[in-house]
Structures are given as C-alpha cells and as structure tokens.
C-alpha cells in the first residue's frame, strides 16, 4: 500500500518532510541502507570504555579486604571461642567431667588445626556453654565467635547472623530393607506401608504426601521401633534421620538408606554479620573437608561408628 508523503519512512522509501528538513539543515546519515548513523559512534565508544573498565576490574587483582576484627583477634589470641549447648549426641555431649565430644567438637578441632597450619600460629578452641535458645543472643553479645552446636539453618535469622555452608543434612531419609532393590524415591512407595516416629518430621512429610501416594502410614513411638518393624517386614520403608538409622543399623544391620533427604534440614555454623573473614575461613575449611574426604570421616566416626546412643 503506497504511503502518502507525510508518512515517516524507515526503509529508504519516499522522503518525508522530516528528512527533507534534516537534509536542509545539514543532514544526518542514516544507518539504514548501510550508512553509519552519527549517533552510533559515541555509543560504541561508551561501550568500549565500559568493557575496558569491566575487564580491568575482572582481570586485575583486587587488594585483599581488610580482615575483620574477630578474625584478627582469633589469630592474635590463638583462640576460637565456640558457643555450644553440649546436650545433643552425637553432635556434642559433655561427659560430666568437663570433657566434650561429638561431631561438632571434632569439626571445631579441624577448623583450629587448619587455621593453625595456614597461619603458622597455634589456635585452640575455647567452648562457652549456653542453653540452646540463648545461643544467638550470646553470639550477638560477643560471648563467643561462632555457634557450632548442630545448629539448623534458619532463613529467618539471616538478617541477624551469617551462616556457613552446611556441613550436614539432618532431614529424614528413606530407609528400606537391605534386600530392597526397587525403592529409589518415595514415589516408589505408593500404597505401601510406611513406618514413622509419631510426630517426627518424617511423620509430617508422610502425612503431607499420604493423600496423593496413598501411604499406609504406621506410627511408632520411637524411630528404633519403626526400624525394627521394617526389619520384621511389617512396613516396607521408614522415614527417619541418619542418626536414628545408624543407631539401629550399627547393632542390627539388615537395613539401608536410599536417596536424598526427604526434607532438607541443613546443619550450619553461625557467626556475627560483622565477621566476613571468619565466615570465609570457616567455609574454606568446610569445603576443603568435603572435597578431601575428611567430612566423610567425621560422619563415619561420629554418626556411624558411635551414633546418637553414645
């Protein structure tokens, strides 16, 4: 359809009054039709400058950030102060003689050992006891530098404290008989009898999915009771945590854990928000331990070999 002269054109068509006006007033070159628009040059220059700055920022090494005061103090004093509620085996327990033991104690020792080695200065761990509910307040009050006490990750606390990378997932898992080669996920358990500890996270998970997957849910007073029912063939699977599983498996065997945790309950270390260096140092050690197998060894020693009945 032919356009009238007054229609603006962008395709090199009939000249408009505007274009005639542009030509009359000195003119601009259009990019259309292979010609370079004058306004492109400043834009290209701006992009080039931005890319140069970006490359500079990316490729040139940044000066290391100033270490936070807590980290400096840990190195100067040779002491990491850890807040702990020592009443939660196999993560932390007190033998009533002031001796602490458990997975968290071993982890804190690993942190101190790694930092001592990297900084060529001895660092020891000083434990500060606190009730579990008081740990966050005591951390904020600087009674210690970090909470290492089987602390569950809590997204609602991230405004107040910084959390490390997770070092354990305590969520419930699927446990089946050793001979069961079919069960890989909870979908494979549709319509089957499932055992749970009454009121536990595994119980809540099973009830949530019961309507869709038609689990035949059977509740037991303890996870051990549920796991024994599994061994006896009364249920086809149990939803329980790794600690409870290991406690029964270590003694009685005949069962295995399959798949990922059904619910993520991440266990983390908490530090104050103003201690980014300490947080980075903790994360570095946790990550290294996961990579080189030291974390697995801690699990093997404290969760498998000893367990929650310790």
């Amino acid at each position: 359809m032919p356009r009238g002269n007054s229609q603006p054109s962008t395709d090199g068509g009939p000249q408009t009054a505007d274009r005639r006006h542009q030509k009359a007033s000195g003119g601009r070159r259009s990019a259309v039709g292979g010609r370079l628009r004058i306004g492109t040059l400043p834009l290209a220059l701006a992009v080039l400058i931005a890319l140069t700055i970006y490359a500079f920022v990316i490729w040139f090494p940044k000066p290391p950030p100033k270490p936070d005061a807590t980290w400096v103090h840990i190195l100067d004093a040779g002491e990491l102060r850890v807040g702990i509620d020592p009443s939660f085996p196999p993560f932390e327990s007190d033998d009533a003689k002031g001796n602490l033991y458990g997975l968290d104690i071993a982890l804190a020792s690993e942190l101190a050992r790694a930092w001592s080695s990297a900084n060529e200065t001895p660092i020891r761990v000083e434990y500060v006891y606190s009730g579990f509910d008081g740990l966050y307040d005591a951390l904020k009050a600087k009674q210690f530098d970090a909470i290492i006490s089987a602390l569950p990750y809590d997204p609602k606390k991230t405004e107040d404290v910084s959390f490390s990378h997770s070092y354990f997932n305590s969520g419930p898992r699927i446990v089946v008989r050793e001979s069961d080669a079919m069960t890989k996920t909870y979908y494979d358990l549709m319509g089957k009898p499932i055992g749970v500890e009454l009121g536990s996270t595994g119980d809540a998970f099973a009830r949530r999915w019961q309507r869709r997957l038609k689990f035949d849910l059977r509740t037991y007073n303890t996870p051990a009771d549920a796991l024994r029912a599994l061994r006896l063939g009364q249920v086809d699977a149990v939803f329980t945590d790794l600690v409870a599983f290991n406690d029964v498996w270590r003694v009685e065997g005949g069962i295995k854990q399959v798949g990922d945790p059904l619910v993520s309950e991440l266990v983390v270390i908490a530090v104050r928000k103003d201690t980014p260096t300490l947080l980075a140092q903790i994360n570095a050690v946790i990550d290294a331990m996961k990579r080189d197998g030291r974390m697995e060894k801690l699990y093997a020693e404290w969760l498998v070999a000893r367990g929650g009945s310790e």
């Binding site: 408009t16 009054a17 500890e197 009121g199």
Partner: protein, 391 residues
C-alpha cells in the same frame, strides 16, 4: 529557522498531509489532537494497571458451622491478636473447628481496643469473635495489656497502678457490653503470680484480689450472665520469697484470704506438663498436668466447689533441645490423654491447650508448642487430636 510543521492526513484530507510553514500552521487543533491522544494513552495505561492489579481478597464469614466432637471440652489457645489479614483469622478458626475442638482462648489487648481513653475500636476484635463464632467455637477472652495512657511513662504493659483499677474495670465493662451474648467467658489478667506479668511491682495476691473486686461488679452490671475467670496462674515451684514468681498454690490461697472468693465465677488454670506424662499424680513438689487438681482442691477448701475451672493454657513441647520438652510421640500421647482426663473432670468446663498456631515463628522452643505451623501446615499432633476427637 522558520521550520515546518507536519500535519498528518485524516479523513477530511483523504490521507494526504500538508506541510505548512510554522508561522502559518493552525497550532490550536494540533495541540488539541495531541492532548486527546495523550489522554487516550493515559486512559489505556490506567485500564491496563487496573487489569494487572490483583483483585482484592474477598473474605466472608461463610455459613454457620458446627463443631462435631466426641469430647466437647477440647480446646486450644489461638493467637490471632496480631493477625492482620482477615483470611488468616478465618483460616485459624476453620482449622480449629476441623480439628474438632470447641473452645478457643484468645487475647484481646486493652491497648489495641482503647488506644485513646474513652475511644473504643472494636473492628479487629469483632472480626476475631465473629469468625470464631461462625465456625461454631466458644470464645474465652483474655483481657490485659495496659494502654500507654493508663500507665506511667516507660513502664511495662503489665503495669497497672491500683488507682487505675476503675479504669480497667471500665474497659472490661465496655468489652462485656459490646460482646454480650457473643463472648460469655472473660479471663482477668494473665499469670499475676509472675513478677513481669504484674508490672514488676512486687507480686501481690491481695492486689490481684482488689483488681477482681473492681472489675467483677462492673462486668456483671454490663451482662449478668458473663462468667468472670480469675487466676490463670503460672505453675511454678518458686520458693517463698522469690522475687520473680510466687508458687501458684500459695498464691491462690492468698487470693482467697484477701477476699477474692465472691469476685470470680470460675478459675482459669494453666496446666503445663513439662516432661511428665498427663497421668502423673499431682504433687505440690511437681509441675505437671495434674497440678490442676491441687488448684481445684484449694477451690473446694475455700467453699468454691460449685464453681467450674477452665484450662486456658497448657500442654507439652517437643523441641529437640529444650530441657522441658518431650519427644514428639510423647507429646501427642500426653496431649490426647490430657484431653481424655479433662473429659472425666466434672469440675472442668474446657481444656484449651497452648497454642494452636503462631502468626510468625517465635524462633525459640515456643514454636514446638503449636499444632499448626505459621504457614498453616498441620503438624502430626493436629491430625492425632482430630482423630481422637472424632472417634
């Protein structure tokens, strides 16, 4: 430069535009046309915004419901005082009803309603009461929380000077009048045997008795059928002379000694089990669920055998780390047993356990007292109570 003005062709020009020298262009029609286009664009934008906006949430009271339960004493303490959104208030009470519980205890802070002296805002309280009643629930209202204007500067909300008792009595009277026929049970204050609940002004059973004496006649004048509940004492073994708390059994007796007997219709009891099973025998040396029987004995001893008692708080906690918690399975078993024990106590009218749901996580062990998560996910205990009350 003289310049030109482009005039687009329209119907009248057969689509042909004209180019006029600026000096001679008819500017006014051009401005009007552009103005109209801008207005059209704005109208379109407004329409799009209106279409894109989410529709307002429509919450209605819904049809009248009835609680179907085999144990009409089953109840819970709800926490909708701080709930802003109406649908959450409704959802709370729907879920209570679906759990087959008949009673709810709810807190109505004085300051929220009478934020300025003599100015009563019943809007939120009405929402709460109406939604609860529509679900067929009986509401027990707990009153407290002193407004700023009724207490000294920098004092806590539990501080009420004796000179202000008539002011509080006036509020209670207004509350009873407003909710006459809708709320029949009123709890006066909370845990006055704990220092911080008594404004840090020294625990005084006689002082609480005087509060009841101020409140009771005013409430009855507003609605003679209203039931005034006293006590709601914190179960504690605090030895004599403790600043922070007074033994609840001693406190109740001292309330009677101070002449409280004729100024309440029923006793509100807090029955926490801590780590003991519901069946554990009562003992003056133990805080357990059966401690309610000891309070009852004191009532009987003081000539109040005809009065009822209401458990307005209580229950068990299943936090994995708290020293006064039990395992989840124990919590469920003890809770069901407690409701069953209450069924057999003819002197007890209702058993409302703490707490149905928090509007937001407390992020402490307190979260493990609840039946439902803040996201309205029922915990296993919810289903077990439902199963119990349905059979």
């Amino acid at each position: 430069m003289g310049g030109v003005v482009q005039v687009q062709g329209g119907k009248g020009t057969g689509g042909q535009g004209r180019v006029l020298p600026r000096s001679s262009a008819p500017l006014f029609p051009c401005i009007v046309k552009r103005g109209i286009r801008i207005l059209e664009a704005l109208a379109l934008l407004a329409l799009l915004c209106a279409l894109a906006a989410p529709p307002p949430i429509l919450v209605t009271l819904g049809p009248q419901q009835t609680v179907r339960t085999t144990n009409p004493k089953v109840g819970v303490h709800t926490r909708v005082t701080d709930e802003v959104e109406e649908w959450k208030i409704k959802k709370n009470f729907e879920m209570v009803r679906e759990m087959d519980a008949s009673w709810v205890v709810e807190y109505f802070p004085w300051e929220y309603i009478e934020n300025e002296e003599g100015q009563f805002d019943w809007a939120h309280a009405d929402l709460v009461v109406e939604h609860a009643r529509r679900q067929g629930l009986q509401v027990i209202a707990r009153l407290g929380f002193v407004p700023r204007w009724a207490r000294p500067k920098d004092s806590v909300t539990s501080y009420l000077d004796e000179a202000r008792y008539p002011t509080f009595a006036n509020f209670v009277a207004e509350f009873v009048r407003h909710f006459a026929g809708r709320v029949q049970h009123i709890v006066i204050w909370n845990e006055p045997n704990v220092n911080f609940e008594w404004g840090y002004r020294g625990i005084a059973p006689a002082g609480y008795a005087r509060m009841l004496q101020a409140v009771y006649p005013r409430a009855k004048a507003s609605d003679p059928s209203v039931q005034i509940l006293a006590g709601a004492l914190a179960p504690t073994l605090a030895p004599p002379g403790t600043v922070d708390a007074m033994n609840d059994l001693d406190y109740l007796q001292q309330m009677y000694d101070a002449g409280a007997k004729d100024y309440f219709d029923a006793l509100a009891i807090h029955a926490y089990g801590w780590t003991a099973p519901a069946d554990e025998a009562p003992s003056v040396q133990r805080v357990n669920f059966s401690r309610a029987e000891l309070l009852r004995e004191i009532m009987v001893r003081n000539g109040d055998a005809d009065k009822h008692a209401f458990i307005t708080e209580g229950g068990w906690n299943d936090h994995p780390r708290w020293t006064k918690a039990v395992h989840p399975a124990e919590r469920i078993a003890y809770t069901l047993r407690a409701y069953e024990i209450c069924r057999g106590w003819d002197w007890l009218a209702a058993c409302a356990l703490w707490a149905f749901r928090y509007p937001f996580p407390a992020q402490t062990y307190l979260d493990y007292f609840t039946f439902v998560t803040p996201e309205f996910d029922p915990k296993p205990i919810y289903y077990e109570v439902q199963k119990y009350a349905a059979r």
